[in-house]
Amino acid sequence: MNILGVDLWIVVKIMFIVGMLVYVTFAFVVIRQVGHMTKTLKVGFETPVRLLALMHFIVAIGLLILSVLYL
């Protein structure tokens, strides 16, 4: 699909990648914040909480790579 000689899907792909880059930054901030909070408050449930934040970050990076290679 072309609009003014530009492939629309390329534009969508670039928008998607930019969105994913923003999302990965957010996921990284989440890891930092969770790390900070688990240092502030230790209740014996730090490892699962940190793992959840880390998994979220890894999945975000995975989707960024997928959108670069697959789209």
């Binding site: 899907w9 969508v12 998607f16 969105g19 994913m20 999302y23 957010f26 996921a27 901030v29 989440v30 914040q33 969770v34 909070m37 240092k39 502030t40 408050l41 230790k42 209740v43 014996g44 449930f45 909480v49 959840l52 934040a53 979220h56 999945v59 975000a60 989707l63 997928l66 959108s67 697959y70 789209l71």
Partner: protein, 211 residues
């Protein structure tokens, strides 16, 4: 012949254990009401300060976001089974659905962490209110037990009455005039513990044992 009237045992001579001297107990780390929790450490407390209560909002307050998340999980299903987004190339459809689930997982994570880290801590010396608004904003405020002037507990509504949770408003003479504990379990018991701690603190001040 069975005794109808029996003399109650005289407990007046038994030593009264102060609230702050009660031994630590094992607890569930994701519980909303932890009394004398063992192995809990909060950065703001002193080395000899003992945590008496660790409170979170009642688990029932999570019900709204759990229901919302359940709906969000099923949102992409119609797009898979019905050809609404047929104009999209398949690769875009797949990545869009994956992105949707990533955002949904972020929503669940954010809501859980907001509940988990939004804690109210009562120690034998101070009261802490840790507000974890979202994944990037948080506030920690505290007041000395000695500065507490008034404690008001309130349970309003049928659901809160049924599940025994409500709000506690702590008015202080400190820099932060009010601390608000929202939707905590057993608010009357919490208010009672705070009163006992205030009495203990006053007693310590009278005896000149102030830390």
């Amino acid at each position: 012949m069975p005794d109808i009237f029996t003399k109650k045992e005289d407990t007046s001579n038994e030593p009264i254990v102060a609230v702050s001297q009660t031994p630590e107990q094992s607890y569930n780390p994701v519980s909303a009401y932890c009394k004398y929790p063992a192995n809990v450490h909060f950065d703001g407390t002193d080395a000899d300060e003992k945590i008496v209560l660790l409170l979170r909002k009642h688990w029932l307050t999570n019900l709204r976001w759990i229901l919302t998340a359940s709906v969000l999980i099923f949102v992409p299903l119609p797009f898979v089974y019905f050809p609404i987004l047929n104009f999209l190339p398949e690769r875009f459809l797949v990545v869009t659905i994956l992105f949707w689930y990533l955002v949904t997982s972020a929503y669940i994570l954010e809501k859980f962490l907001s509940w988990f880290f939004n804690v109210y801590i009562i120690t034998d010396e101070r009261v802490f209110d840790v507000d974890f608004y979202n994944l990037v904003d948080r506030d920690i405020s505290d007041a000395n037990i000695a500065d507490i002037q008034d404690v008001t507990s309130s349970i309003r509504g049928a659901i809160r009455t049924s599940f025994d949770y409500g709000d506690i408003l702590i008015q202080t003479s400190a820099e932060i005039p009010e601390l608000d504990f929202e939707a905590v379990p057993h608010p009357d018991e919490v208010a009672k513990i705070l009163r006992s701690l205030r009495v203990e603190e006053e007693q310590e001040q009278l005896e000149g044992r102030v830390r």
